[in-house]
């Protein structure tokens, strides 16, 4: 008994051996129609595409040259955890050094300020400074220190009057 196709049970039918002949029907149709179309089938090799001589011979080598190198496992000298701890330690140490340096710098400048305003003044007032004012001025100029920055209030009023009386003529001041 001929087995019924599952597709025929809805009333649809195809000619006998239709699917078996699909391929050959193409060639038969062409053969029986146009001589130009017929010519397609007469080509022993239907493809007209060519490749350069010896193209396939060295293809393996050319492709292998482009293959990425095999990955080798890299064992880190320092573990990630260790590296983080080390970085944190270095940063902490750096902050510590910086704060100590800043503190010491502040202390030095305070000491210098104290010397300028108190000890040095007493030292100069007591006549223990063996430099003349011109020599001091020269030193200050050599060091590029602004003379105007010197605190003039530190000079005693009596000394100033005495200095003016000794060095400047009173008449000249009055006429000006």
């Amino acid at each position: 008994m001929k087995q019924k196709s599952p597709h025929t049970n809805r009333g649809y039918k195809v000619p006998d051996d239709y699917f078996a002949n699909v391929e050959s029907s193409f060639f038969d149709t062409i053969k029986n129609s146009d001589p130009k179309e017929h010519a397609i089938l007469d080509h022993p090799n239907p493809s007209a595409y060519k490749v350069p001589d010896s193209y396939f011979e060295d293809l393996e080598d050319r492709i292998l040259k482009r293959v990425p190198p095999t990955k080798t496992e890299v064992i880190p000298l320092f573990s990630r955890k260790k590296l983080i701890y080390t970085t944190i330690s270095i940063a902490a140490l750096f902050v510590l050094i910086l704060s100590i340096y800043k503190q010491s710098n502040t202390a030095n400048s305070d000491t210098i300020n104290l010397i300028e305003t108190a000890y040095l003044q007493d030292y100069i007032d007591n006549g223990e400074l063996e430099l003349s004012l011109f020599e001091v001025e020269d030193i200050l100029l050599d060091q590029n220190i602004d003379i105007s920055a010197i605190d003039s209030d530190a000079l005693q009023e009596e000394s100033l009057y005495q200095y003016l009386e000794d060095h400047i003529e009173t008449e000249y001041i009055l006429t000006e």
Partner: protein, 181 residues
């Protein structure tokens, strides 16, 4: 290649030790089949060569992802098809033209291609094939140019033999119509 040989080759490709040796064997086995598949899509030799090399490099990088659900060549064939299509899409995009316009251009360039020596009839057949939807082109080329059986095409494309026969029949009818015009 028997299924046992194929399994051995896949195992070697997925091993660290023998991968390069196995990869060379893989290229030797499939280079020509893949090349012709790519060439019929890209049309010119230089492009086919580029795509073929990229396909093998991609295979090398992804061989460990191959689970063996299909035959090795079916997997390679799919990669080659996808690579070829993306290559043509990029080419069309670079030139700011449509895929259809690119197809016409590729066929037109065959006339001056030193690696194409088709006569007038063969050239007309190329033009006719280019008018087909891509799936029909694939079926026609696999059947007509590569002379594969429907069962083999079915494995490659993951389509039933019945659907392939219908697709081929449609392709043939369209080509006939084109040639008669």
């Amino acid at each position: 290649m028997s299924s046992q040989e194929e399994e051995a080759l896949i195992a070697a490709l997925q091993s660290e030790k023998h991968v390069n040796e196995a990869f060379k064997k893989l290229i030797t086995l499939y280079k020509e089949r893949l090349y012709w598949h790519i060439r019929y899509i890209t049309k010119n030799h230089a492009d086919a060569d580029d795509v073929l090399q990229n396909v093998f490099i991609k295979v090398y990088k992804n061989i460990k992802k191959f689970k063996g659900d299909s035959k090795l060549y079916s997997w390679l064939y799919r990669i080659a098809t996808n690579e070829s299509l993306s290559f043509l899409q990029q080419k069309a995009k670079k030139q700011n033209i449509s895929d259809g316009e690119l197809q016409e251009q590729l066929i037109h360039n065959l006339k001056a291609d030193i690696y194409y020596d088709g006569d007038e009839i063969q050239y007309k057949l190329e033009q006719a094939i280019a008018t087909l939807p891509f799936k029909q082109q694939q079926v026609f080329m696999l059947k007509y140019y590569q002379e594969l059986k429907y069962q083999e095409i079915s494995e490659l494309l993951g389509t039933s033999e019945g659907a392939l026969k219908a697709s081929y029949h449609l392709a043939v009818k369209k080509i006939q119509k084109f040639l008669k015009e």
